[in-house]
């Protein structure tokens, strides 16, 4: 392994070792996505029982829940893994080791992906077993939905970490709450057109709204490539902004002595 790969693996191993020693942590990863799936799955079953007119809405509801969990779990995966270092008062040791900031971020993203898959894949299984909803029936395009929402979770998490570097423990709560605040604008359960006109530009500035517009079309067998392209482009712009913010706050923390 090269030096970079070893350092990234070192920090990844630290988190894997933590989960290996604590099954409650692993269960907690799966708990919320499965619980969400059960609640919204029963709601969908109820809607389905009301008549065929709501059948498409029921499918979109379950698909929306599953895919939004991808963004939520990806964001929490990065932010909480960073907080683990903060809580264990270990950041000082990490930052005086030869690990570069980008390598630390790469390790956090890798851990986040593992956490997200551990949480979301069982929920996808539950949707298939209990409600006969097959997320992958949309075809390979579902991978692009996954990727876009995961990247969105990552840049939101980088912004949260930047705020934690700037404001300390006072900003910790954002690690759990910030993406929930974007849910109304992400058009997870309804189309962007259902939002008030004044809010629609906000929704269209988020990659998630384009993913969910694409998902609803894909459930009807149509792939909206323009929405996918918008999601990808917006992710690139927001990610660049989050990386800039992180780099700036990291330097500020070294100036202020925030570790």
């Amino acid at each position: 392994m090269t030096g970079s790969a070893r350092r990234i693996w070192g920090l990844t191993y630290r988190h894997l070792a933590l989960y290996r020693r604590s099954w409650p942590r692993v269960v907690e990863l799966m708990y919320w996505p499965i619980l969400q799936m059960c609640i919204w799955g029963f709601t969908s079953s109820f809607l389905l029982a009301r008549g065929s007119a709501t059948a498409a809405a029921a499918g979109a509801l379950i698909g929306g829940v599953l895919l939004w969990e991808v963004a939520l779990r990806s964001q929490m995966g990065v932010a909480i893994s960073f907080l683990e270092e903060l809580w264990s008062r270990n950041l000082g040791h990490v930052f005086v080791s030869p690990i570069r900031p980008w390598e630390m971020v790469a390790a956090l993203l890798g851990v986040s992906m593992m956490r997200m898959l551990t949480g979301v894949l069982p929920a996808i299984g539950v949707a298939w077993l209990l409600y006969a909803f097959d997320l992958f029936s949309m075809g390979p395009v579902v991978v692009l939905f996954f990727a876009n929402l995961m990247i969105m979770g990552w840049w939101v998490a980088l912004a949260v970490i930047s705020l934690i570097l700037r404001h300390g423990a006072g900003a910790e709560a954002l690690a759990w709450s910030v993406l929930f605040g974007l849910t109304p604008f992400s058009a997870v359960f309804y189309p962007v057109s259902a939002l008030p006109a004044v809010v629609q530009p906000i929704a269209l500035a988020l990659p998630s709204s384009h993913v969910f517009e694409g998902m609803r079309a894909a459930l009807e067998g149509v792939i909206l490539w323009d929405h996918l392209a918008w999601a990808l482009a917006l992710n690139a712009v927001w990610m660049a902004g989050a990386v800039w913010l992180f780099a700036a706050q990291f330097r500020q923390a070294r100036l202020r002595g925030a570790y």
Binding site: R7, A17, L18, R21, E85, S97
Partner: protein, 244 residues
């Protein structure tokens, strides 16, 4: 070439000048003690030497690397221990050493962990979570972490704080042994004057961010007409400065 060279180093936090224009060098293989009361600037100086803090002014070179431009090359050959920065408490001692072994790209890592476990007597608790250890055991683990990459420069911030005399003596003996064996350069910040007298070839006395005196322990004792460094420390803390 000096192992550590510090020139005109300052650190300002708003109106507070934590470190005020200090300059010093440490020769390869030498142990330098930083002495001073609380708030004298010892920990801030160490944080700047490690690249954890960006200085307000001045220049730091470690092992020939400018810490402002090339700190990662130096950090790979340095290490650090402080009782005020913990290791992850929920993973085992062995896992902690593996993490840091990978971060420092240590070759033959498992053999190195066995070697350190043998030398620092960690074997009995190598597979226990670090958070379940006694203070003395944690200090030995922190020392093992600080030595995992066989550093050429070792920075220690109060390495024996809150240890019983027996464990403190064990740590000091091991540091002497490691320096003699490896030729490592050590910078030690401590409030323990007996420790500084025993380990350090040279001492810098800091007060309010400035170097107010310095020399070998014997020179300082002679200059102040005292029997031990604690009395010298009290003289400086209470009476003011003597030109170095």
């Amino acid at each position: 070439m000096d192992a550590i060279a510090v020139e005109g180093l300052s650190k300002r936090y708003g109106d507070v000048l934590a470190v005020d224009d200090i300059s010093f060098t440490v020769a390869p293989g030498q142990t330098l003690g930083l002495l001073g009361g609380n708030g004298a600037g010892k920990t801030t100086t160490i944080a700047m030497l490690l690249g954890l803090l960006i200085p307000s002014a001045g220049r730091i070179s470690v092992l020939g690397h400018d810490m402002a431009r090339d700190r990662f090359a130096a950090l790979a050959r340095m290490n650090f221990s402080s009782p005020y920065i913990a290791l992850p408490s929920r993973i085992s001692v062995r896992e902690n050493l593996r993490v840091y072994g990978h971060l420092y790209s240590v070759r033959g890592l498992e053999a190195r962990i066995c070697e350190l476990a043998d030398q620092l007597d960690l074997g009995a608790f190598l597979d226990r979570p670090a958070g379940q250890l006694s203070a003395g055991q944690k200090t030995r683990v922190a020392l093992a972490k600080a030595l995992v990459n066989r550093p050429d420069v070792l920075l220690l911030d109060e390495p024996t704080a809150s240890l019983d005399p027996d464990t403190g003596d064990l740590v000091r003996s091991w540091l002497e042994h490691y320096r003699q064996e490896s030729g490592c350069t050590i910078l030690l910040a401590s409030h323990n004057m007996a420790e500084v007298e025993r380990l350090c070839a040279r001492v810098l006395m800091l007060k309010q961010g400035r170097i107010v005196d310095g020399g070998t322990p014997a020179e300082l004792l002679d200059r102040y007409g005292r029997d031990d460094l604690e009395q010298v420390f009290l003289d400086i803390a209470r009476r003011g400065t003597v030109d170095a």
